[in-house]
Amino acid sequence: MTETNKSHTLHSKPRSKWRDVWYQFRKHKGALIGSIVFFTIVISVMFGPLVWPFEANEINIRARNQGPSWLHPFGTDQLGRDTFARMIAGGQTSIAVGLAAMTLSLLLGSFIGVMAGYYRRLDGLLMRFTDLFLSLPLLPLLLVMMLLFREPLSQAYGPERGMFVLIVFAIGVTSWMPTARIVRGDVMALKEREFILAAQSIGTTDAKIITRHIMPNVLSPILVSATLGIANAIITESALSFLGLGFPPDFPTWGRLLNDAVDYLQLYPERVMWPGLAISLTVLSINYLGDGLRDALDPRIRGR
């Protein structure tokens, strides 16, 4: 049997789907650069504290308000804290919030999308629900949630962890709608295909059909909305911190650092640049990554 198989694939090696995706992805220069930049940022905020000699909250009042130097490449703030160390610490929070909120919103969005697409009797109700959520004023509501639930959650889990839970939850429950809509559309189209009929005819349960046959096929739109979800969550978290309704003041995130820097805009305008550039560069690289991923995962574009 192995012999005949080999003769079939004489001209080319066996190709897996993910290998094809990778080949297509490599062709998109922007996406390639975007992913390199993004993973560089992630790795440097993950391992930065191990290498960098300064602590994020280490106050050195003698070295306050310094410009960039070899010792402090991004300068120091009004309490003499090293800005680079704070940027690393802030990046950890911002990216962790981004990933966690994206995961929550994807889980919610895929679940509702699959349910609405697969079960016709749930479709009307769930899509009404999605439309309702889409017509909520999100930023004001997020601000209100921050206002109302900050205190009790801080008391329950401690100021930082409580805020983390709250922000991830708030962003997650307000950003699942686009994913749900895309997934629903794809599931509805897939449900009419023969392989689903075949699976049903041999008595596969709905749960198994969804996990084995539907989910792998809607993976690519979910992956694409995952990348956009991270970008969206990072921007939202920064906006909340920027408005002073995010993490507590001594806990750095990129949005918080930007907010602090705006107070010193007239005296030290360069301080705004670091967190702003970090947010923009991360989001830009993720957007390019998502753009390339969309092209690479689309079988109609792939291979051309």
């Binding site: 439309d131 309702l132 017509s135 909520l136 004023p137 999100l138 930023l139 004001p140 509501l141 601000l143 209100v144 949630m145 206002l147 109302l148 639930f149 205190e151 009790p152 970008a231 921007i235 920064s238 906006a239 920027f242 408005l243 002073g244 309704l245 949005g255 930007l258 820097a261 705006v262 805009l265 007239q266 305008p269 705004v272 640049m273 967190p275 702003g276 550039l277 947010i279 923009s280 989001v283 830009l284 957007n287 390019y288 753009d291």
Partner: protein, 335 residues
Amino acid sequence: MLNFTIRRTLISIPTLLFISLIIFLLLNLAPNDPMAQVPLTVPPEVKEKMREALGLGQPLYIQFFKWLIQFFWIEPQVFFDHLFGTTFSEGDLRIISWQTRSPVMDIIVQRMPQTLWVVGMSYIVGILIALPIGIYSAYRHYSVFDQAGTFVTMIGYSIPPFFTGPLVIVIFAVQLGWLPSTYDTLHVVIDWDTFVIQFKQMILPVMVLAMQTTAQISRYMRASMLDNLNQDYVRTARAKGLSEWTVVMMHVLRNSMIPVVTVIALNLPAIFGGAIITEQIFKVNGIGGQLIGAIYSNDLPTVQTITFMFAFLIVFFNLIADLLYGLLDPRIRYD
């Protein structure tokens, strides 16, 4: 079409009611106490009376119902009285801010012009920039201009307004000193010089907000133009010997505008949301500033009213977009 319009309008009423319920429940079930600011020396029975005076003693559904009446029945009456000098609303209890002890709507009416002025202007500017970019990018598909346009819109998507805001302040207000960094709401335009000052102070906030609009609308315009440029009717128009200008601007553009116009209507409420941040950066004394101020000082009636007004805008413009789609495209008939 009329049938559809009526049906579609009726559908948005339960949507609005449901949203108002969500906002109401979120604010009222939240574990916080409006009496928290009251000094501890105030005896408990006085506190209880204050609580009742704020209408907090009653069950939730009565509070909700009363709020609905205040918002949908009493406030419009006040507005009507204000316009025509009648006295329908005399003696009725209006939605009172806990912060200023004055009707919330009065403050909103004071703040609204600033927001509308900045947001509206930025939206118009954004659209005026976006449309030509979108049209030309699609016409010269994959040209240098198109690639540059794609890159610029990608940047416009990715750089949040709370970075572009401080950035333009650093460049144009701090370094170059050309433009003021804050927006002076008290400034009155009476002659040419004051107009120039007004114009200058509007440039930065309008620029920041318009950048977001431009990025989105030009993408839609380009995609929509690309869809249409390869259609058969375009080839027919060219074969008839029409000039290139007529083909693109009269035939293709008119058809491509249909989805773009609806997107313009759909995105307008989102711009109001984004204006919250921009108002904060440039110290514009508008609705967003009022919302943030009310949030900081735990002023729930104001927060509730403004949030619901944003929701109302979203539902309203969704309705407009749906109706526009049917009006503009004769092929789409809902009946």
